[in-house]
Subunit: 198 residues, 2 copies
């Protein structure tokens, strides 16, 4: 309401995920009233990110170079490949510090109704990569959703002819989870996939 450009800023802020009209207005007011330097700084960061960040040629994660840091690293195990849906998953697993191999980012999951088949998420290219006999184990770390499970299953089938160890990240009760509050599907999985202790 103050001006054309203010309205445009409010509209533009709505490209951010989970920012509705009210939040966008509050953000716009905050920037215009209290942090113009921050606004200019953000504008520059947005432009640079949009220009320089792209997919890694090897793993399809994000990088500013041809090949991302993880793919270029000689300190990581080249024989273990973790297949995930998105770069956000790479971040999450790296943050957990539990994996020292390489990654492959599918860039999504199978979703036939949306027209996303194996080609769209680069399954053939991944199978090609796995055929080169460098990788010994594939950890399938797609989401534990219906689509993620279907994608994992399809990938497993696609690699049947290769002599690879293929694993799936464990599914069960999350750390700190109280059984009383865990959903029944997770609980039934946790019982089904119970681990032998002795």
């Amino acid at each position: 309401m103050f001006s054309q450009r203010f309205e445009e800023l409010v509209q533009a802020l709505r490209v951010l995920p989970s920012v509705g009209p009210k939040s966008a207005q509050r953000m716009a007011l905050h920037l215009v009233m209290k942090n113009r330097e921050g606004a200019v700084f953000l504008a520059q960061a947005l432009n640079e990110a949009a220009s320089y960040i792209h997919a890694c040629q090897v793993c399809n994660s994000l990088t500013e170079h041809d090949i991302c840091e993880i793919c270029a690293s000689h300190e990581r195990d080249e024989q273990v490949l973790c297949v995930v849906e998105s770069p956000a998953d790479v971040m999450a697993i790296e943050h957990s510090g539990s994996f020292k191999g390489k990654y492959h980012v599918l860039g999504g999951h199978l979703s036939p109704l949306d027209g996303i088949g194996p080609d769209e998420i680069g399954i053939p290219a991944l199978v090609e990569r796995l055929s080169q006999n460098i990788i010994q184990e594939v950890i399938i770390a797609t989401n534990a959703t219906v689509e993620g499970q279907a994608t994992a299953h399809y990938l497993l089938e696609s690699c049947k002819h290769l002599s690879l160890r293929m694993t799936r990240i464990a599914q069960g009760v999350p750390q700190g989870g109280e059984l009383e509050y865990v959903d029944s599907h997770t609980l039934s999985q946790a019982v089904h996939n119970r681990m032998q202790l002795k």
Copy 2:
């Protein structure tokens, strides 16, 4: 973690109010992965807003011109002035459609501990404006917070010597408010400021 510029974008997004590290990361990934055009569009809107939007010379609200639309309008009552703390309050009152006069934006409230006194929020300039005998009524619409009340009180005192009608927006139970859930301070105010019906 993907690259320098990605980290910079995550940091830059934190200038937005109530955006923490997790949200900023999610926003950055969303923009880089799914909406680069949106990112560039947002960058442009930010730059333009930062360059062209400034305070109205008359009311201190936001505008791209010397004088804002409301101040420049001949269709609004020049005799009634609504004093608010911020441009966001102008938006809220305009949105309610309940006021057809002019505004004055203080740009804050009295807060002696933060070094914000009458000069910092332009009270002398406002009293000067009120002395010109155009305005007949001042509606004090500062927030119903402790600071807003103190600011309202100070303004009232500052205008004692002027022959003006001064009013304060009503305080009481909000529309749809169930008494059971209204805080006791509001309720005691609502009883104290009860309106005569007959």
